[in-house]
Symmetry: C2
Subunit: 319 residues, 2 copies
């Protein structure tokens, strides 16, 4: 099937075409350029929401509950579950299976786990392109879900229009350790397992953090709300959807939505450019150039900066 | 203090000079080029050992026990604890404090946690340079320890001379989920908490995995040993040291040590070159070029590949 036909079918909401396009992204298909060009005219509609939190916080359940609530509100939802590429995790796959059973029969939901292990910078490269596929396929909301460990993973989820950070009681010194990192990427906080002991402490600590580190945007601030949920019983989902809607409205009235999307597009364009440059570096003299330089570094005949100079000189011979 | 003096002091094993050099690496000091040139002649001595495993496997304790065993064998040990840059973790810092108390008074041990959050590709860039500092400072062994989640983190630890993967019973479907990923980076397996129920099952499953996925190197294979430890009681440390020594011998007799170090140097040189290219991309027209292209992508006037073309054309105007 050619790209145009595949894109047509994805826009007709055929799940297999959507899945195929995401697979082509993951496999770094040579057709990607053509795919991106074909998709671009149909993008810009979807709200992109990132969800992250420490292991054990109830991310999969929360995602599932949020999907249910968004479906009630008539929204079509695509979910990208970012596998943290751990050789140990397997979590995303398991989570998929659980969530798939609940939403499997619903044509308004598409769930996909992304595994990009072994590609440095692979997440930054593949995720926005997969978002683009779901956006063009007409999903109203794209949820990017990832466990909040790993620098690439957190970076990617922080590029959403709205980023939700989940915490829960009983996960060690989660909030104390959270510090500035969470404040930077969180637009909405969720305290899940809110029926458990310690939930009040988590919420109170969060409030202090927020008061301390309030983000300033053009002189006006978004005060991150704290939503309490018990995802396992579906409690708090409506409040979460409301908080997301309020943030969306704030984004739009402040011009911040365009700014965030520009930042995301910049990250995507940069990742595509860097990937191409890396391929060129690797290809110099059929890969022999980098290897030869590395051998000289191991022999201590060159330091790594001098070797990088030599590599770059070869990449840009005219300069 | 100038770089030459700092390097001299580090080579005289003054911990503050070593710490200062690693801080300069982490902060991407403009002096890095000079530092790398000054360090390079003194490198190549240290054995670089990577340690990883899922959360809860007992990595910090195992590292501490391994440090003790290596010290008994007369080795000076530097430890780089890679913080997985999670805004939630805080684990590395806590771990440091615990380990520091045990080894604080020992001048033959240097422990440092690396946090490089917020820099895409930061780990691949900073870690080999920090290893270089410890190597030049005369440490016989450099241990790189990281939790086995996050693509960048696993990539980095997989670039050691020898990579140890820890597993333990009671961590869910750890081994089943491990699959090929672990086999690719593990040279030595440790089943920690070997006194607990389920340790035999973990070891048996590992044996099957190894039999199934044995790594072939030039027609001869290294069969990954499985060492059982109870790190909390210091049990199995000698066996682990022996397994590490055997792997080291295998590396040397097969010429594999030079191959691995060349691969690591290539990764370092590439990371330095890519970082420089990224800085150049970001600097084009004072950052305005990338931003302007991103705006056009958001407006759907350009697809991201066409935008990347335009960015690269500006980077290499002669071509």
């Amino acid at each position: 099937m050619d790209v145009a036909e595949l894109v047509d079918r994805a826009r007709e909401r055929q799940p297999r075409a959507v899945a195929k396009l995401i697979s082509l992204v993951e496999d770094a298909s040579p057709k990607l350029r053509e795919i991106a060009a074909a998709l671009t005219p149909y993008t810009g509609h979807a709200r992109v929401i990132g969800l992250t939190g420490p292991p054990g916080v109830g991310k999969s359940t929360s995602t599932s509950v949020l999907v249910t609530a968004l479906r009630k509100a008539g929204q079509r939802v695509g979910v990208l579950a970012i596998d943290p590429s751990s050789p140990f995790s397997g979590g995303a796959l398991l989570g998929d299976r659980i969530r798939m059973t609940e939403h499997a029969t619903d044509p308004g939901v598409f769930i996909r786990s992304m595994a990009t292990r072994g590609h440095l910078g692979g997440l930054a490269w593949a995720t926005p392109q997969a978002v683009r596929v779901l956006d063009a396929a007409g999903f109203d909301v794209v949820l990017i879900e990832t466990v909040g460990v790993g620098q690439s993973e957190v970076d990617v989820v922080g590029l959403a229009d709205t980023t939700v950070v989940l915490l829960a009681p009983g996960l060690g010194d989660g909030v104390q350790a959270a510090k500035a990192g969470v404040l930077e990427i969180a637009d909405v906080f969720v305290v899940n397992k809110a029926d458990r002991d310690g939930a009040d402490v988590v919420a109170r600590d969060l409030k202090q953090l927020i008061a301390y580190g309030r983000r300033e945007v053009r002189g006006e601030s978004w005060r991150q709300p704290i939503v309490r949920t018990v995802a396992s019983r579906g409690e708090g989902a409506e409040e979460l959807v409301r908080a997301l809607d309020e943030h969306r409205e704030w984004l739009e009235t402040r011009g911040e939505l365009v700014r965030r999307r520009t930042r995301r597009a910049a990250s995507e364009v940069e990742a595509i450019a860097v990937r191409r440059l890396r391929a060129e570096l690797a290809d110099l003299h059929g890969g022999g150039h980098l290897n030869g330089l590395a051998e000289r570094v191991v022999e201590r005949a060159l330091d790594p900066y001098a070797a990088a100079d030599a590599l770059l000189a070869e990449l840009k011979p005219g300069q």
